[in-house]
C-alpha cells in the first residue's frame, strides 16, 4: 500500500476527494458553499484523474439542483456509482428525488455543505436548516465536524450505503468546515479499495435497469397495497446503524481513527452532557476536555449518524451518571415543540426509560459564532434552578428572553498555538497568501494548522479577515480567534474603519502596511490603536508593501510581501527556514505560469526583508485623531443604532429587538457608508466637456452624475465647484455640472474610457481624467454634497435619450458591485427612468447580492420618498415571482378603478373620468395622474363611506406601476427558464431584464447556456464547444413579446430606446443585456470597448423586436447593428476566458474560433431574414392590440 500523505485542504476538497474517486457519474449544480466540490470534481476529471476502478468520472453540470438530482437518480437506476454535491435551496430542490432514491433502496451517497435556508433573508452561511428539511426523506444522515472527518466519514458513508442499500447524505457545516483549511491525512486509493466491497458494487450494478434483464421500477400503487409495500423497506433501516458501526470499525483498523454512531467525550461520570453534531461539537469537545480536566463532571455526546437514529446506540453511549442534557440544534423550527435533534433525544430517552432534565438550545444559525464560552453557558444552564427549557446561545434575545448569558473572558486556548489575524482587501491577495502559508507550514513541518476566512459581501473593495492557527496538536477550535499573537493589517485605510487590535493578545506582534518612515507611520495612527499598542505591549512593525510591489512589478498584489513579513517577524518558523520555504512555494505555485512571475515574486521577498522596520513605540499616546464613526452623525436613527454596528464589525452585539421582524429594511443606506476605496477618481474639465453624459451613463456605481440647474442654484457653491453653461435647448439659460462622488467611486476608469472629448493639442487629456484621490477628496466631498442639494431637473422636460436619461436621479447608487461591473449600469438606468414607480423582482445572484446584501443596500428613494420596491424570492422562480407582483397590482388597479366608478358621482364625473382614462405613457402623463390622485385623496377625506376608505388604501395604484423582473443568465437561461417561458407565454405586462454575463458570476464562473463557444468556464475548462443559446430568437417565436438585445457600451442610445419601448409595450418585454464581468478575465475599464467589439464582431448583434410594428404592418424585428465586420478573434483574444483556451490548445481554439465565426455569421443571416419578414398582422396572434391583450388586468379578459 502506498503511504498516506498529510495535506492541507478545505472541507469541500476533503469530501470531494473521496467522492470523486468513488463515483462514475457526478451531476451537480453550483450553489454556495458546496460549489467547490463540483468544481474540483470537474477539474480532476478534466485532468483525467481516475476513480478507484480506473475510469474517469463523468461530471455534468445541470440546469438546476432538481436537474442534478434527476440525473443522479437516473444514473443510479442504470447501475452507475453516482454522487452529487449541494446545499441549502439546492438541497430542497433535490427532495422529491431523494424520496424516490430512498424508496427504491438505492446505494448512493451525496455530500452537503450545510447552509441556512432563506427565510426572512437569504444567508449563504452555515447551519443545519437545509439538512434537517430532509430528515424525513429516508436518507441516512451522517454528520462531520472537521475537515478530517469530512474526508473520513465521506468514505464511511460511501462504503456503508453499498451494504445498507439506504442512501446517505453526508453533511458538514457550510463555511466553518467546507471552507476551513486544515491539515489532514489523505486516504489513498488503496485505502478506498479496502473500504469498498467490490461484490457490493457488483450487486448495485446488477440492480441497474437493463433491457437484458428488465424490471419495471416506479409503479403507481393503489390503496390496497401502497402501505404494505412502503413498510417493506423497514428491515434495511433497522440494519443500517449496525452496518455503519461495522464500517466505522473497519475504517478504524485501517487508519486508527475510530468513529462511533455516537461518540462520547468527557468525564466518565459526567452529570451534565451536551448532545450535538457538526463543527460545533469540535468546539464543545475542546471545551469539555478543558473542563473535565478541571474535575467538572461534564461530557459531550457527538451525534454522527443522525438518521437512522439508533436509540440503542445513543443510550449506550451516554454515561449512566448523566442527570441532565442540553441538546444543541443548529436550526430553527418555529412553532415546533423543539428542534429536531432535541425531539429525537427526548423520544429516545423516553423510549429507553431514562428520565432526566433535557433542555433544547439553538446556536450558530447562519454561521453565528459558537465559542467555548457558549458551550459553558449551556452547561451552566443545566444546573440552573429554573433553567430555560428552550434557549438560544450566541445572541442577545431581549424580546422573548431565550438567550443565555455568556461569561466574558472565558478563554481556553493554549499559548503554544500561534494565532494570527490578517486584515486584507479581497483584491490584494491576502487570502491566497495565507492559504499558501498554511500549506507551507502544514505540509512542510509537523505542526497542525487551521485557516478560516471571513469575507464581507461586497464585490468591490471587499474586506477579508483571515484567522490562522498553528499548533503542536490537532486543532478543534472551530471559532474565530479571540486573542491573537500576531495581527497584520494589509491596508492602512482599515485603521479608520475597524478596531484591528481589538483581538490582539498581550505582547502580540503587529504588522502594518503603510508608506513613510516608522515615525510617520506612528503619527498617523488613531488614538485607539496607539493606546492598545502601548497598553498591550505590542511589538509594532511596518512595511511599505505597495512600494515594494511597484518596484518589483507586482502591481497591486502585495500578498507575497505581507506573507514574507509574517514569516519574518511572527516567529512561527525560524526566519531563514521560513524564507526558503516561501521561495520554494513561490516556485511551485508559479513555475508553470512563467518564470517572469516567479522572479518578480522572489524579488519582492528579498526587498521586503530590506524594507521591514520595527516602529519605536513612545511611552504615551501622541495622536489626537480618533476613529471616525462608521456612519455620519446626520444619518437616520436606525442607521446610527443598527447599521453602524454592522459596519464597525460589531453586528454580533446587536440584540434581537434591533431588527425588523419580517425582513423589511429601509432603502437608501449605501449613501451613509463612505468607503473611499478608489485610489484615483475622475476629475472633470468643464471647458473640454461636450455634455454628452456618457460618463454618467456607464458608471456602475452612480458615482459620477450630471445635472442641469438654474444659475441661481450656484449661490453658496463651494469655491472649487465647477459649472458651465448648459448647451442643450431644453433647459435654456441653465448651468451644467458633472460631479464625482469621491468616496463612492471605485476608480474603475470606465467613465474616462468612454469620454469622447479629447484635448486637440494634447489628446492624452480628456474632459475626464483619472487623478489621485487623496488631494482631491475633501474638496470633492463638499462639491458632491452641494451638487446633491441642487434641484433635480424637471422630469417632464427631460428628453428620453442617453443624455436626458442621465439627468434623471438614479435610485440605485453606490452598490457593492465589482469595480467596472457591467450589470449595474442597466439597473441604474432602470431606476432613473422608472424607479419611482417600479417593483423589482430579483433572481438570486450577483444582482441580489449587491442589491440586497446587508449592511447597506443601494436602492434608494427620491425627494418624494418614492423608489423601487425590491424583493428577492429565489433563484429559480423569479419570473413567476414578478408575475405575482403583476397579478397583485392588477387586482389593486381593478379594485381602485371599480371604486372610482362607484364613487364617480361623489368625486365629480370629470375627475373620475380623468382618473380612469388617464394616458400614462410618459412622465407628463404620470405627473398629471399623481396630481389627480392627490386631488382624489383630498376629496375622499370628505366622503363618509366604506368605499371611500377602501379607495384610500388603493388609490396610489391608479398611477401606473412598472414591474421589472431582473436576473442573470443562470436564472434566465437555465434554472428559471421554465418559469420565464411560462410568463412570456401568459403575456402579462412585465419587463424582464436579463443581465447576461454569459456565466454564473456570483458562484464563481460556472458555465451556463449563455456561455459562448470558445470560452473557458468552470465545467467547460477546455472551452465551450456549443454555441450560446439564443434567448432572443426563442422569445421572438412567441410573437407577443417585445424583445431587445442591448449592450450599453456599444450603442447606448439603442439601450435607452429599448428600455423605453419595453416599458411602453403593453405585454411582456425581454431585454437581454450584455454585461461585462470579472469572470471574463480582463480589466473592466475596457468594458465598453469590449462591448463594441462584441457587437462589431457579430458576437452580440443588437436588435429590437416589437410586435406593435407587426400590428402596424411593418417588420417587427429591427437590426441595430451591421453585419459582423470586426474579426471575432480580436474580441476573443482580449479576454482570459477565451485566451486561456488558446494557450491550452491552440488547435482547438482555432476550430472553436472558426465555428464561432460561422455561427455569428449564420445568426446574423437569420436575423436579416427575419428583419425582412413583414409579420402576419393578425393582432389576436401578435397579442399587441392595446385594448385586447396583455397589458390589461388578467381578470378583465
Amino acid at each position: 500500500m502506498s503511504a498516506r500523505k498529510m495535506v492541507t485542504v478545505d472541507g469541500n476538497e476533503a469530501a470531494a476527494s473521496v467522492a470523486h474517486r468513488l463515483s462514475e457519474v457526478i451531476a451537480i449544480y453550483p450553489i454556495t458553499p458546496s460549489s467547490t466540490m463540483g468544481e474540483l470534481a470537474d477539474e480532476w476529471s478534466a485532468h483525467a484523474r481516475t476513480n478507484i476502478w480506473g475510469s474517469v468520472p463523468q461530471v455534468t453540470e445541470m440546469q438546476s439542483e432538481g436537474g442534478a438530482a434527476g440525473a443522479v437518480h437516473g444514473a443510479l437506476q442504470a447501475g452507475a456509482m453516482a454522487t452529487t454535491f449541494t446545499a441549502s435551496q439546492g438541497l430542497l430542490l433535490m427532495i422529491p428525488n431523494m424520496y424516490k432514491i430512498a424508496g427504491e433502496l438505492t446505494a448512493f451517497c451525496m455530500h452537503v455543505s450545510a447552509r441556512a435556508l432563506a427565510t426572512h433573508a437569504l444567508s449563504i452561511f452555515g447551519d443545519h436548516s437545509d439538512v434537517m428539511a430532509c430528515r424525513q426523506t429516508g436518507f441516512a444522515m451522517l454528520a462531520s465536524g472537521s475537515v478530517q472527518e469530512a474526508h473520513d466519514l465521506a468514505c464511511i458513508a460511501h462504503a456503508a450505503t453499498l451494504r445498507a442499500r439506504v442512501p446517505f447524505m453526508h453533511f458538514f457545516d457550510g463555511f466553518r468546515t467546507s471552507h476551513e483549511v486544515a491539515k489532514m491525512e489523505q486516504l489513498t486509493d488503496d485505502d478506498l479499495r479496502f473500504m469498498i466491497d467490490d461484490s457490493l458494487v457488483a450487486a448495485h450494478r446488477r440492480r441497474g435497469l437493463t433491457p437484458d434483464h428488465p424490471v419495471l421500477r416506479g409503479t403507481a400503487q393503489n390503496p390496497d397495497v401502497f402501505f404494505q409495500a412502503r413498510e417493506a423497506c423497514n428491515r434495511f433501516y433497522l440494519a443500517c446503524p449496525d452496518i455503519v458501526a461495522e464500517t466505522m470499525e473497519r475504517f478504524a483498523t485501517l487508519t486508527g481513527r475510530r468513529y462511533g454512531l455516537f461518540d462520547y467525550v468527557g468525564h466518565p461520570e459526567a452529570e451534565r452532557v451536551i448532545v450535538m453534531m457538526g463543527s460545533g461539537a469540535e468546539t464543545a469537545h475542546e471545551t469539555i476536555e478543558y473542563l473535565a480536566q478541571r474535575e467538572e463532571k461534564v461530557g459531550l455526546l457527538k451525534v454522527r449518524l443522525f438518521r437512522p437514529f439508533s436509540i440503542e446506540a445513543f443510550v449506550a453511549a451516554l454515561p449512566s451518571t448523566v442527570t441532565s442534557i442540553a441538546v444543541m440544534d443548529r436550526t430553527k423550527e418555529p412553532g415546533g415543540v423543539g428542534e429536531p435533534l432535541y425531539l429525537d433525544v427526548v423520544a429516545a430517552l423516553q423510549e429507553s426509560g431514562r428520565n432526566m432534565r433535557v433542555l433544547g438550545g439553538r446556536y450558530g444559525l447562519g454561521s453565528k459564532e459558537f465559542t467555548p464560552a457558549m458551550v459553558k453557558a449551556a452547561l451552566d444552564e443545566l444546573r440552573a434552578g429554573q433553567p430555560r427549557r428552550h434557549f438560544t446561545v450566541g445572541i442577545l434575545d431581549d424580546v422573548t428572553h431565550t438567550s443565555l448569558p455568556i461569561e466574558s473572558g472565558f478563554d481556553i486556548e493554549s499559548d503554544d498555538v500561534v494565532r494570527a489575524i490578517f486584515f486584507g482587501l479581497g483584491s490584494d491577495g491576502t487570502v491566497s497568501a495565507n492559504k499558501n502559508s498554511i500549506k507551507i507550514i502544514g505540509e512542510g513541518t509537523d505542526r497542525w494548522v487551521q485557516g478560516y476566512f471571513v469575507y464581507d459581501s461586497r464585490k468591490s473593495g471587499s474586506v477579508t479577515v483571515s484567522h490562522l492557527r498553528f499548533g503542536p496538536r490537532p486543532i478543534r477550535s472551530e471559532y474565530l480567534i479571540g486573542k491573537a499573537s500576531f495581527i497584520a493589517c494589509h491596508q492602512s485605510i482599515f485603521l479608520d474603519r475597524f478596531d484591528v487590535l481589538e483581538h490582539a493578545a498581550q505582547g502580540a506582534v503587529f504588522l502594518l502596511n503603510a508608506p513613510g518612515t516608522p515615525e510617520e507611520v506612528w503619527d498617523r495612527l488613531p488614538v485607539e490603536i496607539q493606546e492598545q499598542i502601548i497598553l498591550k505591549g505590542i511589538r509594532f512593525h511596518t512595511i511599505d508593501a505597495s512600494r515594494v510591489a511597484a518596484e518589483t512589478g507586482m502591481g497591486g498584489r502585495i500578498n507575497s510581501i505581507m506573507q514574507t513579513g509574517f514569516f519574518a517577524i511572527s516567529g512561527v518558523l525560524p526566519r531563514q527556514e521560513a524564507i526558503d520555504r516561501i521561495k520554494s512555494a513561490i516556485r511551485k505555485t508559479y513555475e508553470k505560469k512563467g518564470d517572469e512571475i516567479v522572479q518578480r515574486n522572489f524579488a519582492a521577498v528579498d526587498l521586503t526583508l530590506e524594507h521591514l522596520r520595527e516602529v519605536p513605540v513612545p511611552g504615551r499616546v501622541t495622536a489626537t485623531r480618533r476613529l471616525p464613526p462608521p456612519v455620519p452623525a446626520g444619518a437616520p436613527v436606525f442607521l446610527q443604532r443598527v447599521t453602524s454596528m454592522m459596519l464597525a464589525g460589531k453586528g454580533d452585539l446587536l440584540p434581537v429587538s434591533a431588527f425588523p421582524v419580517d425582513g423589511s429594511w429601509p432603502l437608501g443606506t449605501t449613501k451613509w457608508e463612505k468607503r473611499a476605496i478608489a485610489l484615483q477618481i475622475p476629475a472633470w474639465d468643464d471647458v473640454l466637456c461636450i455634455q454628452c453624459n456618457k460618463c454618467a451613463m456607464v458608471c456602475p456605481h452612480a458615482a459620477i452624475r450630471a445635472k442641469t440647474y438654474p444659475a441661481a442654484g450656484l449661490e453658496n457653491a463651494p469655491a472649487g465647484f465647477k459649472s458651465c453653461d448648459y448647451k442643450g435647448h431644453e433647459f435654456p439659460g441653465q448651468k451644467y455640472t458633472i460631479q464625482v462622488a469621491p468616496e463612492d467611486c471605485t476608480g474603475c476608469g470606465l467613465c474616462v474610457m468612454v469620454c469622447p472629448a479629447k484635448d486637440r493639442s494634447n489628446p492624452k487629456h480628456k474632459a475626464i481624467d483619472m487623478q489621485t484621490m487623496a488631494p482631491l477628496r475633501a474638496a470633492e466631498v463638499a462639491n458632491y454634497a452641494f451638487f446633491l442639494d441642487l434641484p433635480e431637473p424637471d422630469r417632464t422636460a427631460v428628453k428620453l435619450d442617453v443624455k436626458g436619461s442621465q439627468f434623471l436621479e438614479p435610485l440605485f447608487e453606490y452598490s457593492g458591485a465589482c469595480a467596472g461591473c457591467g450589470e449595474t449600469p442597466y439597473i441604474k438606468l432602470l431606476t432613473q427612468l422608472y424607479g419611482d414607480r417600479a417593483l423589482i423582482a430579483n433572481a438570486t445572484g450577483c444582482s441580489s447580492i449587491y442589491g440586497g446584501n446587508l449592511p447597506t443596500t443601494p436602492y434608494t428613494t427620491n425627494r418624494d420618498g418614492r423608489g423601487p420596491a425590491w424583493s428577492n424570492s429565489l433563484f429559480e422562480d423569479n419570473a413567476e415571482f414578478g408575475l405575482g407582483f403583476r397579478l397583485a397590482i392588477d387586482t389593486h388597479v381593478a379594485h381602485a378603478r371599480g371604486l372610482v366608478s362607484t364613487l364617480a358621482s361623489s368625486l365629480g364625473a370629470g375627475l373620475a373620468a380623468a382618473l380612469l382614462d388617464a394616458e400614462q405613457q410618459d412622465e407628463i402623463g404620470i405627473g398629471a395622474q399623481r396630481e389627480r390622485v392627490e386631488l382624489l385623496r383630498r376629496k375622499l377625506s370628505g366622503i363618509e363611506s366604506s368605499e371611500a376608505r377602501r379607495l384610500e388604501q388603493v388609490a396610489d395604484y391608479l398611477v401606473k406601476k412598472s414591474i421589472w423582473i431582473v436576473g442573470g443568465d443562470g436564472w434566465a437561461y437555465d434554472i428559471g427558464f421554465g418559469g420565464l417561458d411560462h410568463v412570456l407565454a401568459l403575456g402579462p405586462d412585465v419587463n424582464i431584464l436579463v443581465l447576461d454575463t454569459e456565466v454564473y458570476s456570483n458562484t464563481g464562473g460556472q458555465q451556463s447556456k449563455a456561455t459562448p463557444m470558445g470560452a473557458a468556464a468552470k465545467f467547460a475548462v477546455a472551452g465551450r464547444s456549443l454555441a450560446k443559446k439564443d434567448l432572443g430568437l426563442w422569445a421572438m417565436t412567441y410573437g407577443n413579446a417585445y424583445v431587445a438585445r442591448v449592450a450599453f457600451g456599444a450603442k447606448d442610445a439603442q439601450t435607452v430606446k429599448a428600455f423605453a419601448e419595453a416599458q411602453s409595450y403593453p405585454g411582456p418585454s425581454l431585454i437581454i443585456a450584455y454585461s461585462p464581468c470579472i469572470a471574463h478575465g480582463y480589466d473592466l475599464a475596457y468594458g465598453a470597448e469590449q462591448q463594441k467589439l462584441a457587437v462589431e464582431s457579430g458576437h452580440w448583434p443588437l436588435f429590437r423586436f416589437d410586435p406593435r410594428r407587426a400590428a402596424a404592418g411593418d417588420t417587427p424585428l429591427v437590426l441595430d447593428s451591421p453585419p459582423p465586420r470586426a474579426d471575432l478573434a480580436r474580441y476573443m483574444r482580449n479576454e482570459t476566458r477565451f485566451l486561456m483556451v488558446e494557450r491550452q490548445d491552440p488547435a482547438r481554439f482555432k476550430r472553436l474560433l472558426e465555428s464561432a465565426r460561422q455561427s455569428a455569421a449564420n445568426r446574423y443571416g437569420v436575423y436579416e431574414q427575419l428583419a425582412r419578414l413583414v409579420a402576419q398582422t393578425d393582432p389576436s396572434k401578435a397579442g399587441v392590440s392595446k385594448n385586447e391583450v396583455a397589458g390589461k388586468p388578467l381578470q378583465e379578459r
Binding site: 491576502t430 485566451l1139 486561456m1140
Partner: protein, 330 residues
C-alpha cells in the same frame, strides 16, 4: 540548373524560402509550403515580450479575484498548468519538424538575456535545424548609446552560441550606424548567418480618433533596394551566410538578391498575397531566367554584383545618392 545553395551550413534545394511569419501557423499551412517547394521552413518568431505579457495577463486574469469573495474562490477554471508559457510554440515546432522533411529554422525574439538563453535551449531541444535570432528593437531610450545597443546584441549572440550547437543566424535592422563594422563583429562572434533586414511594424495615426494605431503593410519591391545595397556591401566580407528578407516579389528581385550576395531569399508578402504556390513559381521563373542567360548554378551567380566584384563598386556607396539627385528632373 543547379539551384542548390548553402545557408547556415544547410544544403538547400534552392534559395527561395518562406520567411518568419504567420504563414506557419498550423501544420496544414506548413504542409502546403513544403508541397509548394519550400527548401526549408522558417518558423514565426517566438516573442519573449509577448510570452511574458500573455503569461502575466493570463495569470492576472486567473488570479486577480482569487480568494476575494465568500461565494467564489476563483472566477475562471484552472487550466492544466503545463499549457501556459512558451510551450505552444515548442509544441508547434516539434510537430512541424515531424510533418516536413526539409530543415526547420526557428526564430526567437528575446528581451532579457535569461530568456534568450532559456528559449534558445528549448528550441534546440524541440528539434530546430537552426535558430534565427530576431533582434527586434526600437532604440527609443535616450539614455542608451548606439554602442551599448551593439554590445548588448553581441553579448546575446555570444551567450546563445555558447548554449546551442545548431547554427545561429541574426536578423538585423537597418538602423545600426556602422552596419558593416557591426556585421564584422557579429561574424567574429561566430554567428552563422545574417538576415537583412527586419521590417518594423510602423504605428500609424488615426486622425479622427486621435489614437496611435498599429498598421501592418505587406512589402513591395521598392523595399528591395536598401537590402540589395547592404547585401552587396557585406557579401564576401563576412564568413556568415547571408539571407535577404523584405521586398522579394518577382523572380527578378530574387536574381538581384543572389547577385548581390544572398545565400537565401526569404519571402513573406508575396506568399501572403498569392498563396504558397507563388514560391514554386518564383523558383521556376528564376531558374528559367538563369537558363536563358547562360547561368549554370546559383553558386555561379552568387555575389557577382557585390561591392567586391561588381564593375562599379562606388555605386553602392555614397556616389549613388548624388547621381540620383542630379538625374532627377521635376
Amino acid at each position: 540548373m543547379d539551384m542548390t545553395t548553402r545557408y547556415l551550413g544547410l544544403i538547400l534545394e534552392h534559395p527561395i524560402m518562406p520567411g518568419a511569419s504567420p504563414l506557419v501557423e498550423d501544420l496544414d499551412a506548413v504542409k502546403r509550403l513544403e508541397d509548394a517547394g519550400a527548401p526549408c521552413i522558417v518558423m514565426p518568431s517566438l516573442f519573449e515580450e509577448q510570452v511574458t505579457r500573455e503569461e502575466l495577463s493570463v495569470a492576472r486574469g486567473l488570479d486577480v479575484h482569487d480568494g476575494a469573495h465568500a461565494e467564489a474562490h476563483t472566477f475562471l477554471p484552472r487550466p492544466d498548468d503545463s499549457a501556459l508559457g512558451p510551450h505552444e510554440y515548442l509544441e508547434l515546432l516539434r510537430r512541424v519538424r515531424q510533418t516536413v522533411s526539409v530543415p526547420v529554422i526557428a526564430s526567437l525574439n528575446g528581451v532579457t538575456p535569461d530568456k534568450w538563453l532559456e528559449y534558445a535551449r528549448l528550441i534546440e531541444a524541440a528539434g530546430a535545424s537552426a535558430l534565427e535570432l530576431n533582434i527586434y528593437h526600437v532604440a527609443a531610450d535616450a539614455d542608451e548609446s548606439g554602442e551599448s545597443v551593439e554590445r548588448r546584441t553581441l553579448e546575446i549572440v555570444r551567450l546563445v552560441k555558447q548554449v546551442v550547437a545548431i547554427p545561429v543566424a541574426v536578423k538585423l535592422s537597418p538602423f545600426f550606424s556602422s552596419l558593416a563594422h557591426f556585421a564584422r563583429q557579429l561574424d567574429a562572434q561566430g554567428v552563422d548567418g545574417l538576415v537583412i533586414f527586419n521590417r518594423f511594424y510602423q504605428p500609424d495615426i488615426d486622425t479622427e480618433t486621435l489614437e496611435v494605431v498599429p498598421s501592418l503593410r505587406l512589402s513591395d519591391s521598392s523595399e528591395l533596394l536598401l537590402r540589395l545595397r547592404w547585401l552587396a556591401i557585406l557579401s564576401g566580407r563576412v564568413k556568415a551566410s547571408l539571407a535577404i528578407t523584405g521586398g522579394i516579389h518577382t523572380s527578378q528581385d530574387a536574381v538581384k538578391a543572389v547577385m548581390a550576395g544572398a545565400d537565401a531569399i526569404q519571402t513573406v508578402s508575396a506568399i501572403l498575397r498569392h498563396g504558397p504556390s507563388r514560391l514554386g513559381a518564383l523558383r521556376d521563373a528564376m531558374s528559367e531566367w538563369m537558363d536563358e542567360h547562360g547561368y549554370e548554378s546559383v553558386r555561379q551567380m552568387k555575389g557577382s554584383m557585390s561591392l567586391l566584384r561588381c564593375p562599379d563598386p562606388g555605386a553602392f556607396e555614397r556616389a549613388n545618392y548624388m547621381r540620383v539627385l542630379q538625374s532627377w528632373r521635376p
